[in-house]
Structure formats: structure tokens, C-alpha cells
């Protein structure tokens, strides 16, 4: 006689399949609950929070968006240790357009998003043929090298950066927060849709066995490039947006912070899905705010999070919670 742990879908989950979800309110709430909850929270938080917490929420949304872009790349096998590349490119592009050409904010941000995406993809294009680790190594190096180039050649403001860029104009601060949250929600559900579609299927297949995909006549790099472009655009948007919030862009746009936070958000929240990135950001960013006092030690804490969560909860918090939500465990006695 032996005790074994068995996991079974909860009754609600088993019943709520396809059209049968409409069977009763219980099933409908079970399925749509978490998403609605999140959307409602994001819709109402900005108005009920005070000024300081609103800034924190903006940070959360920013890093969540970066985390989603990281996750998209990771699911295609491109693990990037340098998400700041896209952030910096987007930030600098919009800063340059605004500073040198005087273009207004509502022009620079979309253009920086698209062109930033394009440039980011272009820079990383030669690395797509390489194994994942090479990619990681290169993404770590490129933003750091770009920083040094800016410092050395003193272009685009050099170490000083570009100051005095336009703000968003006379709009409510809350409006900006909603803009960012809207971008977050669109990206989140957009990416989820993407991965559910046949595009996502091919991506998962590439992850599983790329030789088989090649023998089906599919060009791997084309899929990776498109995913990279989307992720790059998201990162560039973040950079462009924050440039106009801070009204400044400089070398810190390529800083290690923007590389590590998305990584930490995904490690904590969970790989393989986008909701995990958002969850991770909601956890990591507020904690980092509390740690503001200890300065550089903040990064040490991120590192600690990375290590501990990678080892103890590799599936990530979101996957863990989802599993608990959908299934329950109990002990079964089994004949030996």
C-alpha cells in the first residue's frame, strides 16, 4: 500500500469546455474570472491610487510590457539578456526626432516604435542563425557596447543625453497611465492570440524539433524575424514613451536595469506565457520600489530572485497558480 499524489482537474474546469461554459454562471465566472478581474483592476486602479502609487503602476506596466516582449522572443528560442537594446533604440529615436527636428510627441512615438522595431530586428538579424546561448551573449554585449560608443563619440548628447524634450502636453497624468495600460493589455492579448494561431504553432514546433520544421519546407528564420520584429516594436514603444515621460533620454536608456527586470519578471512569473510576465512585473516592481533605499543592492536582489526562483519554482508563479486553480491534488492509496 503506497500513497501517491494525484492531480485531477477540478469539476468546474472539466465542465467548462467549449460551449458548455455557458451552462451556468459558475462555469462562466470560473473561466472568465481571472481575466475580467485583471482588466477591471487595471481599469480602476489608476483612479483610486495616489500620485506616488500611480508612478509605481506606470513602472509596473512598463516592465510588464518589456517582459511580454522578452517572453515572445523566448518562446521562439531567442533568450535575450539585453532587452534594453530595444528600449534604448526606441528612446533615442524619439528623442532625436523631437530634439533635432522638433517633431511632436504623437508623431515621434509611433514612428520610433516602428523604426525602432525595424532597427532592433536588423541589428539582431545576423545572430538568428546561432544557437540560443550565442544570442544571449550577444544581446548582453550589444547594449553595453552601444553605451560605450555613445560615450566615446559623444553623438546624440553623449554622456549628457538629450534634455528638455517635449512632454505630452496638457493632459491629465492619469490619461498617460491609461495609455500605457492600454498598450499593455493590447500587447498581452495580442500576443496570446498570436501564439494561439498557426504562427504560434509553428513557433512551438520550432522549439520542439527544428529539423522536422525544416523538412516541412518552412523557413525558420522568417518566423523568428517576425517575432523579433514584434517584440522589438514593443520594446521600442516603451523606450519612446518613457523618453517623453522623463523628457530626457541618455545612456541610462541602455542600462542593465531594463535588461534584468524583464528577465526577473519572467523568471518569477513564469515562462511560456505572457500573463506570467505581467504577474511577475506586478510582484517585482513594487518590491524594487521598497528597496529604493539601498541603491545598487537592488540589482543584487533581482539577481537573488533570478537564482531562487529559477531553482525552486522553475515553472514560474503564474503556471503554479494556474495549475492550482485548474486542478487539485490529493493522496491516493495504491496497491504496491
Amino acid at each position: 500500500m503506497e500513497k501517491r499524489r494525484e492531480r485531477i482537474d477540478r469539476g468546474v474546469k472539466a465542465r467548462a469546455v467549449g460551449i458548455f461554459t455557458l451552462w451556468s454562471w459558475r462555469e462562466m465566472i470560473f473561466v472568465s474570472g481571472p481575466r475580467l478581474l485583471m482588466i477591471l483592476a487595471l481599469a480602476f486602479l489608476p483612479v483610486i491610487l495616489d500620485d506616488y502609487l500611480r508612478k509605481v503602476l506606470l513602472s509596473v506596466a512598463l516592465y510588464a510590457l518589456l517582459g511580454i516582449s522578452w517572453s515572445l522572443m523566448a518562446q521562439c528560442g531567442m533568450i535575450s539578456l539585453g532587452q534594453s537594446l530595444f528600449f534604448g533604440i526606441g528612446g533615442y529615436l524619439s528623442g532625436i526626432m523631437n530634439h533635432y527636428w522638433g517633431w511632436p510627441v504623437y508623431f515621434t512615438i509611433p514612428i520610433a516604435t516602428l523604426w525602432g522595431g525595424f532597427l532592433g530586428t536588423l541589428i539582431l538579424l545576423p545572430t538568428l542563425r546561432l544557437r540560443g546561448v550565442y544570442f544571449a551573449m550577444l544581446t548582453l554585449m550589444i547594449p553595453l557596447i552601444i553605451t560605450r560608443i555613445i560615450e566615446a563619440t559623444r553623438i546624440f548628447g553623449g554622456t549628457e543625453g538629450l534634455h528638455g524634450l517635449s512632454s505630452f502636453g496638457l493632459v491629465w497624468e492619469v490619461f498617460l497611465l491609461y495609455l500605457m495600460l492600454a498598450a499593455l493589455v493590447i500587447s498581452l492579448f495580442g500576443c496570446m492570440r498570436l501564439m494561439d494561431s498557426n504562427f504560434g504553432l509553428v513557433i512551438k514546433a520550432i522549439h520542439d524539433n527544428d529539423r522536422s520544421v525544416i523538412s516541412s519546407g518552412i523557413y525558420l528564420n522568417w518566423y523568428k524575424t517576425r517575432a523579433l520584429f514584434i517584440a522589438s516594436c514593443m520594446g521600442a514603444f516603451c523606450g519612446a514613451f518613457m523618453t517623453h515621460i522623463y523628457r530626457f533620454v541618455g545612456m541610462p536608456a541602455f542600462s542593465l536595469d531594463y535588461c534584468i527586470m524583464p528577465l526577473a519578471a519572467n523568471v518569477v512569473g513564469g515562462f511560456g506565457n505572457f500573463a506570467g510576465s505581467v504577474l511577475g512585473a506586478f510582484i517585482i516592481v513594487p518590491i524594487s520600489e521598497f528597496l529604493r533605499g539601498v541603491g545598487g543592492l537592488r540589482i543584487a536582489f533581482y539577481g537573488l530572485f533570478l537564482v531562487i526562483f529559477s531553482i525552486t519554482l522553475p515553472e514560474g508563479l503564474f503556471n503554479f497558480l494556474e495549475r492550482k486553480y485548474n486542478q487539485f491534488e490529493h493522496y491516493v492509496t495504491v496497491e504496491k
Binding site: G132, A136, M137, L138, R148, G296, A300, P314
Partner: protein, 291 residues
């Protein structure tokens, strides 16, 4: 002006090679990415400083202590961190990266609390005049140790049982295990050796410059640079790449301007990626063989 520049270029190249050799051992040869490499390098420097300046140990003893400390730390990192995520390369990268971050930033914090001029003195303040060029003893030591380590590693990975085991677990872990190679133990040894090499590099190179936490990041960057250009896994590649990049950097410093040194590095990477992505001496497997 050219001859001194060439000679310093070679020395600079050897420094680069020396710094990358440990990373190459762990990652290129054993297949374990150790992104805490830069952190371990600088930590060794600080450990040596501690023993030398605070505890007053003799110079050579401090060197030995810091190398041993790193060897131990490398093995411990493997045992407590990498072991749990063995096999999933990306988790290995993330975990070691995280460990590196912790080490670097905690060190930064501690040194910021106790601000002072951190420096490692050179072995002896002697210079030699040769071919109209001044050679200081420290640089000669670097050169010597670099060559010595290279030869050692070459012999080790080809003829020594443990060295061959290192290569074995990277190429086919299951086969290695079925041949009686304890993959975990070998992995720990590989990490330990790599960290030890980082320490050796640290104690010989840091006296030439400053003992600063940012040097740790810089170091990881350089090691990655050299390994990518030379080809991961190839000792010769690391040497050649190190020399080439070192020479290019020195000449850039001389003729163009010191700010452009990193640009050279980036340019070299771009060229390599476009021409031969697996590195100068890297072994790029054909599609069918890779699968």
C-alpha cells in the same frame, strides 16, 4: 612607434586571452555557461586585496588563497545552483547571471560603504628595457602565465582523463555517464577550474589596472567577445582571437583614439557573425549532424 605598439598589442592580446580562457573551459569545452565569470574574476581580486592589505598575508600566499577560494566557490555554485537546472541551457545562463549580479552588486555595496583606493600592487616594481621598449615585470608575468596556461590546457583537454571527461559531458552526456563518468562531479570540477582560472587571470592582470566592480562587467564582456570571435570551445581560437582583438585595440588606441576601442570589438563581432558565425575556429556542425 610601431614596434612598441605591436609588442604592447601582443601583451594586450595575451591579457584578453588569459581572461577568456576560464570561460572557454567551462562553456566551450564542458558546455556550462558561466555568466558569473566576471563576478568571480573581480571577487578573486578583492579576496586577494583583503588578505594582502587587511590581514597582511604575504603576496604569493594571498594569490594562492584567492585562487583556492575561487575554485571552491566555483564548485559550490555548481553544486547549489547549476545542478538543479542542468540541461536547460537558458536556465543555466539565467541562474549564473543572477549569481554574478548578486556577487558584483553586493561587492559594490560593501566597497561603497568602505570607500578607499582599492588596488592590487604589482609583484615587484621592475622594468626591463628590451628593443628600446620598456617591459614591466608584471606584464612579463602575464605573458608567461598566459602561455603556460594555454599549454597546460591544451595538454589537459587532450590527454588527461579528467580533461577528456570535460569534453565528453558536453558532447554527449548520456554516453559519458554510461562510460562511468560522473557528470555532476565533472561539471563541478569544470566550474571550479574555470573559476580558478578566472582568479589566476585576476591576480595577474588586476595589478596592471584598478580594482573596481565595473571591471567585472567589463571582463565578462571581453570574455564573451573573445570567445565569440575565436569560436567557443577552441583553445586556439581563444588565443588567436585574443591576439587579434588585442592588437586591433592597441592600434586603435594609438592611431585613432582610445574611445573607439569598443567599436573595434563590435565591428569584429559583426564581421565574424556575417562571415563565419561559429567563430574563427569554431566547429559549426552541418544541419544533419547537429540534430
Amino acid at each position: 612607434m610601431l614596434i612598441p605598439a605591436l609588442i604592447y598589442g601582443v601583451i594586450r592580446g595575451v591579457i584578453l586571452t588569459l581572461s577568456a580562457i576560464g570561460f572557454n573551459l567551462t562553456f566551450g569545452i564542458s558546455g556550462l555557461p558561466n555568466f558569473a565569470y566576471g563576478a568571480l574574476y573581480i571577487l578573486a581580486g578583492y579576496i586577494m586585496w583583503f588578505f594582502l592589505t587587511i590581514l597582511g598575508f604575504p603576496y604569493s600566499l594571498s594569490m594562492v588563497v584567492s585562487v583556492l577560494f575561487n575554485i571552491l566557490l566555483g564548485g559550490l555554485i555548481y553544486r547549489f545552483c547549476l545542478l538543479h537546472v542542468r540541461g536547460q541551457i537558458m536556465s543555466e545562463v539565467i541562474v549564473t547571471f543572477g549569481v554574478g549580479l548578486v556577487i558584483l552588486e553586493v561587492t559594490r555595496y560593501i566597497t561603497a560603504i568602505n570607500p578607499r583606493m582599492y588596488q592590487l600592487p604589482t609583484v615587484m616594481d621592475i622594468s626591463f628595457l628590451f628593443l628600446n621598449v620598456y617591459f614591466d615585470l608584471q606584464r612579463i608575468i602575464v605573458l608567461g602565465i598566459g602561455i603556460f596556461l594555454f599549454l597546460c590546457l591544451r595538454y589537459f583537454t587532450r590527454h588527461n582523463k579528467i580533461g577528456l571527461a570535460f569534453r565528453g559531458i558536453a558532447q554527449n552526456e548520456l554516453t559519458s555517464i554510461s562510460l562511468g563518468i560522473n557528470s555532476d562531479w565533472i561539471g563541478a570540477l569544470s566550474m571550479a577550474f574555470g573559476s580558478g582560472l578566472a582568479a589566476i587571470a585576476a591576480v595577474t592582470i588586476i595589478p596592471l589596472g584598478a580594482l573596481e566592480v565595473n571591471e567585472g562587467y567589463e571582463m565578462l564582456l571581453n570574455a564573451l567577445l573573445v570567445c565569440i570571435i575565436g569560436g567557443l570551445g577552441s583553445n586556439i581560437g581563444v588565443v588567436v582571437a585574443g591576439l587579434v582583438v588585442g592588437m586591433a585595440q592597441q592600434l586603435t588606441d594609438l592611431f585613432i583614439g582610445s574611445e573607439w576601442i569598443m567599436v573595434v570589438g563590435l565591428g569584429a563581432i559583426i564581421v565574424i557573425l556575417l562571415v563565419k558565425p561559429s567563430g574563427l575556429f569554431g566547429k559549426q556542425k552541418e544541419l544533419e549532424e547537429r540534430v
